[in-house]
């Protein structure tokens, strides 16, 4: 009787322990990565390639998502306003929402699928096939070789991709507004400018930078700790995507509380 009652408590306790250990080992990987910065000649030549893979190659998917988000935002705004609010507020809503929330978060979530999964699968495969051990035997520090270039590339490229996504979303909203909503370009632009603060851009970029850091570092963490063959690689890939998506949403709320 007491056993069955205690079971959920015990499960919760175990869950908390596993979670704390995971955060601890992610943290120590991050500390190792900071220490590994001293091997500039190892990570620097690899960083450009990762910036292409993580950033440039993610632009199409980010733009695709942003375009449709912009269209839907414009249509839903006009539907919601239904004459009660002047239609140029469509510009306000598209601009503000893309910048403050949907640009960074949707891009972050999409890239956690694309980039985070890719990183953890690649590093995880290297772990289970002993390629990481092989790096060590050839006198390479694996963290400098694998983790540092990816985390730097992600932290730099996520804000750039996000900026493009925001621009795309606004353009898509504008085209929708003038084509489908009987709004003129000056009206839409007025709406955009109405409540615009330069801080909105800073806020979006701070969020995107932090998302880039967590997606890549969590992907590396899951990859490095992969155990048990192909199945293990699958497990850590899923784990990386789930964990980084959750962290993105929590961080999103955190920045809102802290900065707004």
């Amino acid at each position: 009787m007491t056993r069955t009652l205690l079971a959920p408590v015990r499960a919760l306790g175990r869950g908390t322990r596993v979670f704390t250990l995971a955060v601890g080992s992610w943290g120590s990987l991050v500390v190792d990565a900071v220490r590994a910065l001293r091997w500039v000649q190892i990570w620097a030549p690899l960083t450009l390639r990762q910036m292409t893979r993580i950033g440039v190659d993610s632009v199409p998917i980010a733009l695709f998502i942003a375009a449709f988000t912009g269209i839907v935002l414009a249509l839903q705004a006009s539907y919601t306003f239904t004459g009660a609010i002047p239609l140029y507020f469509v510009g306000v809503l598209v601009g503000k929402t893309m910048m403050l929330e949907l640009g960074p978060v949707l891009t972050g979530l999409a890239l956690s699928g694309r980039v985070g999964a890719n990183i953890s699968a690649e590093i995880g495969t290297m772990r289970v096939t002993e390629q990481i051990d092989a790096l060590e035997t050839l006198a390479y520090p694996p963290v400098a070789y694998l983790v540092v270039p990816r985390v730097i590339a992600g932290t730099i490229m996520f804000p750039l991709v996000t900026a493009l996504a925001i621009a795309m979303g606004i353009v898509a909203g504008w085209i929708t507004a003038i084509q489908l909503l009987e709004l003129s370009t000056p009206e839409f632009v007025n709406g955009l400018k109405l409540f615009f603060l330069p801080f909105d851009v800073t806020y979006a970029l701070i969020k995107a930078t932090s998302f880039g850091f967590v997606v890549t570092s969590i992907g590396c963490h899951f990859g490095f700790n992969t155990k048990g063959g192909a199945e293990g690689v699958g497990r850590s890939t899923t784990g990386a995507v789930v964990a980084s998506s959750m962290v993105i949403l929590v961080l999103d709320a955190f920045w809102a509380v802290l900065l707004l």
Binding site: E130, D133, A134, E136, T137, L138, A139, Y140, P141
Partner: protein, 249 residues
């Protein structure tokens, strides 16, 4: 220039793999380590380059304790030790030539021209000329294994650790690899540890042998001492007759 493995214990969770294993590869000799599958041979040689740390005991290379080294000292140790992985462990994002060049890129004293020359030389030695631009995924198992050997010898290390270098090779290639191991020793004075299940190869390359059994050294000695051993565990292994062990129990 010796490798001393001194009473090492190693467990993975509840799985106690090594229980005080001691063995020594003396300067300029080839030591063969024998043992059943899963007995901990690969685990043992990973301790030599600090990929694993023992729970107890220590490993010394050239008199230096591996456990006491900081990262820079470990790097300079690893530059002196070539490691041939059991499953090759080639970097699959790189061509064969780039794989072989990896260790050399970490050596400042090796110029670009010399690196290319050494890569060519290492691939020639393992008979992989013409495979420079192939991806590892385009190689057969035996070719991968030889590429792994080329990567380990390209840096001209003073020590070489071979984890089952001939498993899965045809008899001719096996003989070629055995000859290569002997050449590394005779011409370059390499101190080597070879893990193998293949008794023919073992006797072709060994100056001395050691048998790892239940986490400890069961017998360490010359090829003749092994051939003449009365120990049923040793005889069962080298003659491939499991019934000898059952009779002894």
């Amino acid at each position: 220039m010796s490798i001393e493995i001194d009473g090492i214990h190693k467990a993975f969770g509840a799985n106690q793999v090594l229980r005080g294993f001691s063995v020594e590869a003396r300067e300029g000799e080839t030591l063969v380590i024998l043992g059943h599958s899963g007995s901990g041979k690969s685990v043992t040689i990973k301790h030599v380059v600090g990929l694993l740390q023992p729970d107890e005991g220590e490993v010394r290379v050239d008199g230096e304790r591996v456990g006491g080294m900081d990262i820079e000292e470990l790097f300079s140790l690893r530059r002196k030790v070539g490691f041939v992985f059991q499953f090759a462990a080639l970097f699959d994002s790189m061509s064969v030539a780039d794989n072989v060049a990896m260790g050399l890129r970490r050596m400042k004293e090796v110029s670009d021209e010399e690196r290319e020359e050494r890569v060519r030389e290492a691939l020639r030695v393992v008979d992989l000329v013409g495979f420079e631009d192939r991806a590892p995924s385009e190689l057969s198992g035996g070719q991968r294994k030889r590429a792994g050997i080329a990567r380990a010898i390209a840096t001209r290390p003073g020590y070489l650790l071979y984890d089952e270098p001939t498993t899965g090779l045809d008899p001719i290639t096996r003989a070629v690899v055995d000859r290569l191991i002997n050449r590394m020793k005779d011409e370059l004075g390499v101190t080597g540890i070879v893990i193998t299940h293949d008794m023919e190869s073992a006797f072709r390359v060994a100056d001395r042998l050691a048998m790892l059994y239940e986490g400890k050294c069961r017998l360490e000695g010359t090829p003749d001492e092994f051939r003449n051993s009365e120990d049923p565990v040793v005889r069962a292994f080298i003659e491939g007759r499991p019934e000898l062990m059952e009779e002894a129990e």
